[in-house]
């Protein structure tokens, strides 16, 4: 593994190096490969709370590395790590009270600056303002592309619940975007 660039080594070999000998370079490669997607997912799930998202990403990797030897590779490493991250993000949401909307808006403005992306900012902001349950299902289904069955397994809810929450989430987003549009035209 030392002679070939780590970027060309597959996840499984890197994971073996991490779990077998605590290889730091192998871990860093895995981290750089999968953290941007994990971080974005967790950040969105948490409604844009950066510090919480970083804590969740850290705990996700710690748990993943600790359990690497138990991972059976029936899914991709990214899917498995994302699942860990999702569970931890949900725990965080349950544990902490929601941040005040004004503060959230301020953070979102700072993070997504370009004016021409105004529509995207509005959508991101609307998603962030959804109740936790709605936001989780909408992000997983409409942004990440999970099916209702996958959401049902991941969140341990009924498929019907997932569908109804998605329906309500979409309605809520439409409503938020509509009211924002009216406010900007007024």
């Amino acid at each position: 593994m030392r002679r070939m660039p780590l970027s060309s080594v597959d996840d499984r070999s890197l994971a073996d190096a991490v779990s077998g000998s605590g290889d730091e370079r192998a871990f860093r490669e895995l981290y750089r490969r999968h953290t941007p997607a994990l971080y974005q997912l967790v950040l969105r799930m948490l409604g844009g709370m950066t510090a919480d998202a970083e804590d969740v990403v850290q705990e996700t990797w710690i748990r993943a590395v600790r359990q690497l030897t138990k991972f059976r590779w029936e899914s991709s490493l990214r899917t498995w790590v994302s699942a860990i991250g999702l569970n931890l993000a949900r725990e965080t949401l349950r544990r902490r009270a929601r941040t005040r909307t004004e503060e959230l808006d301020k953070r979102l403005e700072l993070r997504v600056a370009p004016v021409r992306d105004g529509e995207r900012i509005d959508l991101e902001r609307a998603i962030a303002r959804l109740p936790n349950g709605y936001r989780t299902v909408l992000v997983l289904h409409d942004v990440e592309g999970y099916t209702h069955e996958e959401i049902s397994r991941q969140l341990q809810i009924a498929v019907g619940t997932s569908k109804s929450q998605l329906f309500d989430a979409r309605r809520a987003v439409r409503s938020l975007l509509q009211s924002r549009s009216e406010a900007s035209h007024a």
Binding site: G22, D23, F27, Y39, Q58, L123, R170
Partner: protein, 184 residues
């Protein structure tokens, strides 16, 4: 988004335009690596190892010689300084202190000889010779000083007379190979 369960093409496009990846701040990676190390899940960092080129090996060898020679010089200086201090002490102390010093240095002398004797039979005679010469010379010098202190001291007198007899027999050998004792 409209009021139906299905997304419109515009809504779908808007959702698809959302970023799927975001780079966290760089310190997060370091933070996580440190946390993993602290929990023993990652090996500690490998210490930096430099393989020097040939010239660097030569320079390192030269530096080693300088350090070694410096150490030797320092050791010799410290030893000489120690001996000088003992001599100074002998001249500056009172009679009781001088007697105590004779006792201490005598014990050290006997201990040193005992250590040297433990090598007899294992070391080559040449290796023991300088020690033997030093021991005899010290014994003779001590006997001389003892006679100076107490002229009738029978043991000291006997030692000196025995040495004088031995020296007469050894004259030729002594001339061929001068003694190498150096007093500090």
């Amino acid at each position: 988004m409209h009021d139906q369960d299905e997304l419109t093409p515009e809504e779908r496009a808007a959702l698809e335009s959302l970023p799927r990846e975001r780079e966290p701040e760089r310190p997060l990676e370091e933070r996580i690596v440190r946390a993993l190390r602290a929990q023993g899940l990652l090996a500690p960092p490998v210490p930096f190892r430099l393989v020097p080129p040939a010239m660097a090996w030569l320079a390192a060898a030269a530096a080693l010689v300088v350090v070694f020679a410096g150490g030797m010089g320092l050791g010799a200086w410290l030893e000489a300084r120690h001996t000088t201090q003992v001599v100074l002490d002998m001249h500056q102390r009172d009679a009781a202190a001088a007697a105590a010093l004779v006792q201490r240095t005598g014990s050290a002398y006997v201990s040193a000889l005992s250590a040297l004797a433990s090598f007899s039979g294992r070391a080559r005679p040449q290796e023991l010779q300088s020690g033997r010469e030093a021991a005899v010379s010290a014994l003779q010098a001590a006997a001389n000083q003892t006679v100076r202190l107490v002229p009738e001291e029978p043991i000291a007198v006997d030692i000196l007379q025995g040495m004088a007899r031995a020296a007469r027999g050894d004259t030729l050998e002594a001339a061929a190979e001068p003694r190498r004792v150096v007093w500090f």
